[in-house]
Symmetry: C2
DNA sequence: GAGGGCTAACCGACCGATCGGTTTGTTGTG
DNA sequence: CACAACAAACCGATCGGTCGGTTAGCCCTC
């Protein structure tokens, strides 16, 4: 292997050095391992899964902590987009965003939820800086819900419950499809003004 | 050091070898470290905090995994007792246990919640056997709530929301006292038949 | 009741593995 | 050529776990 002469540009071979592509591969690999093993993953495993050497990984993310932070930031942003995709702008009443939040977390398949729900990450908050990120993100959501006309006692309960459902889905086997549907329905009702 | 002649039996020195006492000290130390650092704690730290040598720790818990399992088992049992302490048997209607569950998680101080809520443990479910324990415990709670006359869609939402609130309390700063009160009140209302 | 023998609690040195991170070298690209 | 994108060897620290040995507590016997 590592023959330098394999100039077969077809298939999924990077063919050329691509900074963004490599970074994305590293982030994706980290996220997978985060789901599988929690914060206990190793840099060597991430590098292997991303088909990069450990040196290459450290070239892009100089520190384990930097890598985790980048993954969490990307995950939170992606989740925010996902929620907004589930907001129905045709609903001309309060609670649109909160209902989108519920739909994003209590709707799709297990893989989709695991992909989008940062709540499913085990123990990432052990890192101080990551905890601050999560805290700031939680504040942003509260403001968003409030601006959408939902009282805090409502949004608090609905948000926490939806996250719990998503975590249960992502962990697998804790909850079945029928139960998810029931929870989704009642949470959507709770998210009405 | 290690002078065999220090026969000063005063103070909190164990004075004699005591299996149960040592085991409890080890479990308590593990639980503290689990809260502070998640699953990343080391056996050496546990031993130090429990004032036992690492050899002594491994004598009682032959494996790191065995130690974690014991802590989780004890925590779940203790939490179950705590919930039952919050059940008001004078309530002659359905939902007594679920309301006790809410009171146990959304009532007391941060320390108390952190002490009793297994949901506050970061990443313990990364160990396969621990995940099974948590799963079995979740099933027990569902049965209990059902036998208490609460439909699954109700208990699911309330249980998840209460756990989310408790986790937020335990993590600190995510939620303030007024919000906890609001959540507690609305969850208690949701836990009525 | 004094002492001998056995068990279990406990200690502390140590081992191989693995970790995060550094350094040095190589290769492709503009 | 210069520089970014890697690779690979390597380093010190630390981890979970093992092992040989020590000692406290208890039972049995005389």
């Amino acid at each position: 292997m590592t023959t330098t002469g394999d100039r077969a540009p077809g298939r999924d071979q990077p063919a050329t050095r691509d900074r963004d592509r490599t970074r994305r591969a590293l982030l994706a690999a980290t996220e997978q391992l985060l789901h599988e093993r929690g914060t206990g993953f190793s840099l060597a495993d991430v590098a292997t899964r991303a088909e990069v050497s450990k040196g290459g990984l450290l070239h892009h993310f100089p520190t384990r902590e930097a890598l985790v932070i980048a993954v969490v930031e990307a995950g939170l942003a992606r989740f925010r987009d996902e929620v907004m995709r589930h907001v129905d702008l045709a609903e001309n009443r309060a609670g649109k965003v909160l209902r989108g939040y519920v739909r994003a977390l209590c709707g799709s398949s297990a893989e989709a939820v695991a992909t989008f729900a940062p709540s499913a990450w085990h123990g990432v908050d052990a890192v101080a800086e990551v905890a601050a990120l999560l805290h700031a993100d939680a504040d942003r959501w509260r403001e968003t819900f409030a601006r959408d006309g939902i009282a805090p006692e409502r949004s608090l309960v609905v948000q926490f419950a939806a996250e719990g459902v998503a975590a249960a889905i992502a962990l697998g086997a804790y909850i079945n499809d029928a139960e998810v549907d029931l929870a989704r329905t009642s949470l959507l009702a709770l998210a009405e003004p």
